[in-house]
Symmetry: C2
Protein backbone atom coordinates (compact mmCIF):
# COMPACT_ATOMS: atom_id res chain seq x y z
CA UNK A 1 0.00 0.00 0.00
CA UNK A 2 1.28 3.44 -0.94
CA UNK A 3 -0.19 6.61 0.55
CA UNK A 4 0.80 10.19 -0.20
CA UNK A 5 0.55 13.08 2.24
CA UNK A 6 0.63 16.50 0.61
CA UNK A 7 1.34 19.24 3.16
CA UNK A 8 -0.06 22.75 3.56
CA UNK A 9 -2.34 23.06 0.53
CA UNK A 10 -3.30 26.67 -0.20
CA UNK A 11 -6.15 27.98 -2.35
CA UNK A 12 -5.68 29.18 -5.06
CA UNK A 13 -1.89 29.00 -5.16
CA UNK A 14 -1.49 25.22 -4.95
CA UNK A 15 -4.64 24.09 -6.76
CA UNK A 16 -2.91 22.78 -9.83
CA UNK A 17 0.26 21.52 -8.14
CA UNK A 18 -1.79 19.49 -5.64
CA UNK A 19 -4.05 18.19 -8.43
CA UNK A 20 -0.97 17.08 -10.33
CA UNK A 21 0.49 15.47 -7.17
CA UNK A 22 -2.71 13.45 -6.83
CA UNK A 23 -2.91 12.47 -10.51
CA UNK A 24 0.73 11.42 -10.61
CA UNK A 25 0.15 9.36 -7.45
CA UNK A 26 -2.82 7.67 -9.08
CA UNK A 27 -1.02 6.99 -12.38
CA UNK A 28 1.94 5.40 -10.58
CA UNK A 29 -0.25 3.14 -8.50
CA UNK A 30 -0.57 4.87 -5.12
CA UNK A 31 -3.80 4.06 -3.26
CA UNK A 32 -4.70 7.58 -2.25
CA UNK A 33 -3.57 11.05 -1.25
CA UNK A 34 -4.25 12.83 2.02
CA UNK A 35 -3.63 16.55 2.15
CA UNK A 36 -3.38 19.12 4.91
CA UNK A 37 -3.77 22.90 4.79
CA UNK A 38 -6.94 24.33 3.32
CA UNK A 39 -9.79 21.96 2.51
CA UNK A 40 -10.46 22.25 -1.22
CA UNK A 41 -13.55 20.62 -2.70
CA UNK A 42 -12.48 21.86 -6.15
CA UNK A 43 -9.26 19.87 -5.87
CA UNK A 44 -11.14 16.81 -4.62
CA UNK A 45 -13.70 17.06 -7.42
CA UNK A 46 -11.03 17.39 -10.13
CA UNK A 47 -9.27 14.26 -8.93
CA UNK A 48 -12.46 12.28 -8.34
CA UNK A 49 -13.75 13.15 -11.82
CA UNK A 50 -10.62 11.68 -13.37
CA UNK A 51 -10.97 8.52 -11.28
CA UNK A 52 -14.66 8.30 -12.18
CA UNK A 53 -13.84 8.40 -15.91
CA UNK A 54 -10.49 6.63 -16.07
CA UNK A 55 -11.16 4.04 -13.37
CA UNK A 56 -9.49 2.60 -10.29
CA UNK A 57 -10.25 3.42 -6.68
CA UNK A 58 -7.78 6.18 -5.92
CA UNK A 59 -9.03 8.43 -3.11
CA UNK A 60 -8.26 11.97 -1.97
CA UNK A 61 -8.95 13.09 1.60
CA UNK A 62 -8.37 16.20 3.64
CA UNK A 63 -6.72 15.85 7.04
CA UNK A 64 -6.81 18.55 9.71
CA UNK A 65 -3.86 17.28 11.72
CA UNK A 66 -1.01 16.20 9.51
CA UNK A 67 1.52 15.39 12.23
CA UNK A 68 -0.93 13.21 14.09
CA UNK A 69 -1.81 11.56 10.80
CA UNK A 70 1.85 10.62 10.26
CA UNK A 71 2.21 9.33 13.82
CA UNK A 72 -0.92 7.18 13.52
CA UNK A 73 0.26 5.68 10.23
CA UNK A 74 3.66 4.89 11.73
CA UNK A 75 1.87 3.00 14.51
CA UNK A 76 0.05 1.03 11.81
CA UNK A 77 3.36 -0.08 10.33
CA UNK A 78 3.85 2.46 7.56
CA UNK A 79 7.40 3.33 6.58
CA UNK A 80 7.58 7.11 6.14
CA UNK A 81 9.59 8.80 3.39
CA UNK A 82 9.75 12.58 3.21
CA UNK A 83 10.74 13.88 -0.22
CA UNK A 84 12.86 17.02 0.08
CA UNK A 85 15.64 18.66 -1.93
CA UNK A 86 17.69 18.60 1.31
CA UNK A 87 17.60 14.83 1.72
CA UNK A 88 19.97 12.05 0.71
CA UNK A 89 19.92 10.41 -2.74
CA UNK A 90 16.69 8.42 -3.15
CA UNK A 91 18.31 6.02 -5.61
CA UNK A 92 20.39 4.53 -2.78
CA UNK A 93 17.17 3.43 -1.04
CA UNK A 94 15.09 2.20 -3.97
CA UNK A 95 15.74 -1.53 -3.59
CA UNK A 96 14.94 -1.47 0.14
CA UNK A 97 11.83 0.66 -0.36
CA UNK A 98 10.42 -1.65 -3.02
CA UNK A 99 10.13 -4.33 -0.34
CA UNK A 100 8.06 -2.21 2.07
CA UNK A 101 4.45 -3.28 2.21
CA UNK A 102 3.19 0.02 3.61
CA UNK A 103 4.72 3.27 2.45
CA UNK A 104 3.71 6.82 3.33
CA UNK A 105 5.32 9.47 1.15
CA UNK A 106 5.27 13.05 2.43
CA UNK A 107 5.39 15.78 -0.20
CA UNK A 108 5.91 19.30 1.06
CA UNK A 109 5.28 22.66 -0.43
CA UNK A 110 7.47 25.69 -0.04
CA UNK A 111 7.67 25.49 3.75
CA UNK A 112 7.87 22.25 5.70
CA UNK A 113 7.83 22.29 9.50
CA UNK A 114 11.06 20.82 10.99
CA UNK A 115 9.01 18.17 12.80
CA UNK A 116 8.41 16.28 9.54
CA UNK A 117 12.15 15.76 9.07
CA UNK A 118 12.12 14.04 12.49
CA UNK A 119 8.94 12.05 11.94
CA UNK A 120 10.14 10.63 8.62
CA UNK A 121 12.09 7.37 8.60
CA UNK A 122 13.99 8.74 5.61
CA UNK A 123 14.39 12.23 4.16
CA UNK A 124 15.15 11.63 0.50
CA UNK A 125 15.96 13.88 -2.43
CA UNK A 126 15.51 13.51 -6.16
CA UNK A 127 18.58 15.65 -6.70
CA UNK A 128 19.59 18.55 -4.46
CA UNK A 129 18.57 21.27 -6.89
CA UNK A 130 15.33 23.19 -6.47
CA UNK A 131 12.80 21.90 -8.98
CA UNK A 132 9.33 20.49 -8.35
CA UNK A 133 7.47 18.38 -5.81
CA UNK A 134 5.44 16.94 -8.69
CA UNK A 135 8.62 16.09 -10.57
CA UNK A 136 10.27 14.53 -7.53
CA UNK A 137 7.19 12.48 -6.66
CA UNK A 138 6.87 11.23 -10.25
CA UNK A 139 10.47 10.09 -10.55
CA UNK A 140 10.36 8.51 -7.09
CA UNK A 141 7.16 6.56 -7.80
CA UNK A 142 8.38 5.58 -11.25
CA UNK A 143 11.35 3.86 -9.59
CA UNK A 144 9.45 2.39 -6.63
CA UNK A 145 6.18 1.19 -8.13
CA UNK A 146 6.18 2.02 -11.87
CA UNK A 147 3.16 2.93 -13.95
CA UNK A 148 -0.05 1.21 -12.99
CA UNK A 149 -1.36 -0.89 -15.89
CA UNK A 150 -5.01 -1.62 -15.12
CA UNK A 151 -7.69 0.68 -13.73
CA UNK A 152 -10.87 -1.19 -12.97
CA UNK A 153 -14.30 0.13 -13.97
CA UNK A 154 -12.81 2.67 -16.38
CA UNK A 155 -15.35 4.38 -18.65
CA UNK A 156 -12.68 5.67 -20.95
CA UNK A 157 -9.29 4.38 -22.01
CA UNK A 158 -6.51 5.93 -24.04
CA UNK A 159 -4.67 3.52 -26.32
CA UNK A 160 -1.06 4.25 -27.30
CA UNK A 161 -0.96 5.92 -30.69
CA UNK A 162 1.87 7.08 -32.97
CA UNK A 163 0.00 10.18 -34.11
CA UNK A 164 -3.16 11.80 -32.85
CA UNK A 165 -5.50 10.32 -30.25
CA UNK A 166 -7.10 6.92 -29.80
CA UNK A 167 -9.74 7.24 -27.08
CA UNK A 168 -11.97 4.27 -26.40
CA UNK A 169 -15.27 4.46 -24.53
CA UNK A 170 -15.78 1.22 -22.66
CA UNK B 1 21.99 19.27 -26.42
CA UNK B 2 18.51 19.08 -24.94
CA UNK B 3 15.97 21.84 -25.45
CA UNK B 4 12.43 22.02 -24.11
CA UNK B 5 9.51 23.76 -25.78
CA UNK B 6 6.62 24.51 -23.47
CA UNK B 7 3.45 25.37 -25.42
CA UNK B 8 0.72 27.94 -24.81
CA UNK B 9 1.75 29.45 -21.50
CA UNK B 10 -1.06 31.40 -19.83
CA UNK B 11 -0.84 34.00 -17.05
CA UNK B 12 -1.73 33.39 -14.25
CA UNK B 13 -2.97 29.84 -14.77
CA UNK B 14 0.29 28.22 -15.86
CA UNK B 15 2.78 30.30 -13.89
CA UNK B 16 3.79 27.59 -11.48
CA UNK B 17 3.47 24.64 -13.86
CA UNK B 18 5.73 26.35 -16.40
CA UNK B 19 8.19 27.36 -13.67
CA UNK B 20 8.32 23.74 -12.54
CA UNK B 21 8.77 22.56 -16.16
CA UNK B 22 11.77 24.86 -16.45
CA UNK B 23 13.30 23.90 -13.09
CA UNK B 24 12.89 20.20 -13.76
CA UNK B 25 14.52 20.71 -17.18
CA UNK B 26 17.42 22.49 -15.54
CA UNK B 27 17.86 19.88 -12.78
CA UNK B 28 17.91 17.04 -15.31
CA UNK B 29 20.51 18.72 -17.50
CA UNK B 30 18.54 20.34 -20.32
CA UNK B 31 20.22 23.41 -21.81
CA UNK B 32 17.21 25.67 -21.84
CA UNK B 33 13.47 26.06 -22.23
CA UNK B 34 11.61 28.00 -24.89
CA UNK B 35 7.96 28.75 -24.29
CA UNK B 36 5.09 30.02 -26.42
CA UNK B 37 1.82 31.64 -25.42
CA UNK B 38 1.94 34.70 -23.19
CA UNK B 39 5.30 36.31 -22.52
CA UNK B 40 5.85 36.21 -18.75
CA UNK B 41 8.73 38.14 -17.23
CA UNK B 42 7.73 36.83 -13.79
CA UNK B 43 8.27 33.25 -14.98
CA UNK B 44 11.58 34.20 -16.58
CA UNK B 45 12.76 36.01 -13.45
CA UNK B 46 11.85 33.08 -11.16
CA UNK B 47 13.85 30.66 -13.26
CA UNK B 48 16.78 33.03 -13.80
CA UNK B 49 17.01 33.74 -10.06
CA UNK B 50 17.39 30.03 -9.35
CA UNK B 51 20.10 29.72 -12.02
CA UNK B 52 21.83 32.82 -10.64
CA UNK B 53 22.01 31.28 -7.15
CA UNK B 54 22.35 27.58 -7.89
CA UNK B 55 24.59 27.90 -10.96
CA UNK B 56 24.79 26.56 -14.48
CA UNK B 57 23.78 28.34 -17.68
CA UNK B 58 20.20 27.19 -18.18
CA UNK B 59 18.22 29.72 -20.20
CA UNK B 60 14.52 30.49 -20.64
CA UNK B 61 13.23 32.30 -23.73
CA UNK B 62 9.85 33.28 -25.09
CA UNK B 63 9.03 32.41 -28.70
CA UNK B 64 6.20 34.00 -30.67
CA UNK B 65 5.93 31.32 -33.32
CA UNK B 66 6.16 27.85 -31.85
CA UNK B 67 5.53 25.87 -35.05
CA UNK B 68 8.20 27.78 -36.95
CA UNK B 69 10.50 27.28 -33.99
CA UNK B 70 10.06 23.49 -34.23
CA UNK B 71 10.57 23.50 -38.00
CA UNK B 72 13.75 25.57 -37.72
CA UNK B 73 15.18 23.24 -35.05
CA UNK B 74 14.40 20.20 -37.18
CA UNK B 75 16.39 21.81 -40.01
CA UNK B 76 19.27 22.19 -37.58
CA UNK B 77 19.24 18.45 -36.87
CA UNK B 78 17.15 18.28 -33.72
CA UNK B 79 15.16 15.10 -33.13
CA UNK B 80 11.71 16.14 -31.89
CA UNK B 81 9.81 14.30 -29.17
CA UNK B 82 6.32 15.41 -28.18
CA UNK B 83 5.28 14.20 -24.73
CA UNK B 84 1.57 13.40 -24.64
CA UNK B 85 -0.69 10.99 -22.77
CA UNK B 86 -1.90 9.82 -26.21
CA UNK B 87 1.52 8.68 -27.43
CA UNK B 88 3.31 5.34 -27.43
CA UNK B 89 5.33 4.07 -24.45
CA UNK B 90 8.43 6.25 -24.02
CA UNK B 91 10.40 3.39 -22.42
CA UNK B 92 10.55 1.62 -25.79
CA UNK B 93 12.50 4.55 -27.22
CA UNK B 94 14.85 5.38 -24.36
CA UNK B 95 17.95 3.59 -25.64
CA UNK B 96 17.63 5.16 -29.10
CA UNK B 97 16.96 8.62 -27.70
CA UNK B 98 19.99 8.53 -25.42
CA UNK B 99 22.16 8.47 -28.55
CA UNK B 100 20.64 11.60 -30.10
CA UNK B 101 22.97 14.56 -29.94
CA UNK B 102 20.23 17.17 -30.37
CA UNK B 103 16.86 16.64 -28.76
CA UNK B 104 13.87 18.97 -28.67
CA UNK B 105 11.16 17.94 -26.22
CA UNK B 106 7.72 19.48 -26.67
CA UNK B 107 5.57 19.76 -23.55
CA UNK B 108 1.99 20.77 -24.05
CA UNK B 109 -0.64 22.15 -21.76
CA UNK B 110 -4.30 21.29 -21.82
CA UNK B 111 -4.74 21.87 -25.54
CA UNK B 112 -2.15 21.00 -28.16
CA UNK B 113 -2.75 21.89 -31.81
CA UNK B 114 -2.85 18.76 -34.07
CA UNK B 115 0.07 20.11 -36.09
CA UNK B 116 2.50 19.29 -33.28
CA UNK B 117 1.63 15.59 -33.50
CA UNK B 118 2.69 15.79 -37.17
CA UNK B 119 5.80 17.89 -36.61
CA UNK B 120 7.15 15.57 -33.90
CA UNK B 121 9.38 12.68 -34.87
CA UNK B 122 7.85 10.75 -31.98
CA UNK B 123 4.73 11.26 -29.87
CA UNK B 124 5.56 9.56 -26.59
CA UNK B 125 3.63 8.94 -23.40
CA UNK B 126 4.69 8.42 -19.82
CA UNK B 127 1.66 6.23 -19.29
CA UNK B 128 -1.71 6.78 -20.96
CA UNK B 129 -3.44 8.11 -17.86
CA UNK B 130 -4.02 11.84 -17.35
CA UNK B 131 -1.49 13.13 -14.83
CA UNK B 132 0.99 15.95 -15.24
CA UNK B 133 3.23 17.48 -17.88
CA UNK B 134 5.76 18.22 -15.12
CA UNK B 135 5.62 14.61 -13.96
CA UNK B 136 5.97 13.23 -17.49
CA UNK B 137 8.87 15.53 -18.31
CA UNK B 138 10.68 14.60 -15.07
CA UNK B 139 10.39 10.86 -15.58
CA UNK B 140 11.36 11.19 -19.25
CA UNK B 141 14.45 13.29 -18.52
CA UNK B 142 15.40 11.06 -15.59
CA UNK B 143 15.60 8.13 -18.02
CA UNK B 144 17.22 10.01 -20.91
CA UNK B 145 19.78 12.26 -19.24
CA UNK B 146 19.58 11.73 -15.46
CA UNK B 147 20.21 14.32 -12.79
CA UNK B 148 22.86 16.88 -13.62
CA UNK B 149 25.71 16.71 -11.09
CA UNK B 150 27.66 19.96 -11.43
CA UNK B 151 26.37 23.49 -11.86
CA UNK B 152 29.19 25.93 -12.53
CA UNK B 153 29.43 29.27 -10.75
CA UNK B 154 26.89 28.28 -8.10
CA UNK B 155 26.64 30.67 -5.17
CA UNK B 156 24.78 28.19 -3.07
CA UNK B 157 24.84 24.42 -2.82
CA UNK B 158 22.66 21.95 -0.94
CA UNK B 159 24.50 18.95 0.45
CA UNK B 160 22.61 15.69 1.01
CA UNK B 161 21.56 15.43 4.64
CA UNK B 162 19.77 12.74 6.66
CA UNK B 163 17.83 15.25 8.74
CA UNK B 164 17.35 18.99 8.33
CA UNK B 165 19.21 21.18 5.86
CA UNK B 166 22.84 21.56 4.90
CA UNK B 167 23.15 24.67 2.75
CA UNK B 168 26.61 25.84 1.78
CA UNK B 169 27.41 29.32 0.51
CA UNK B 170 30.30 29.08 -1.95
Amino acid sequence: MILILRLNHRIPRDERMSTHCALVSRAFGADGMHYSGMKDTGLENSVNEITERFGGDFFIKHTEKDREFVRSRKKKGFFVVHLTMYGTDFMEEVSGLKKKRKLLIIVGGEKVEPEFYELADLNLSVGNQPHSEVGALSVFLHEISGLKKKFKDAKIEVRPCKKGKDIVRL
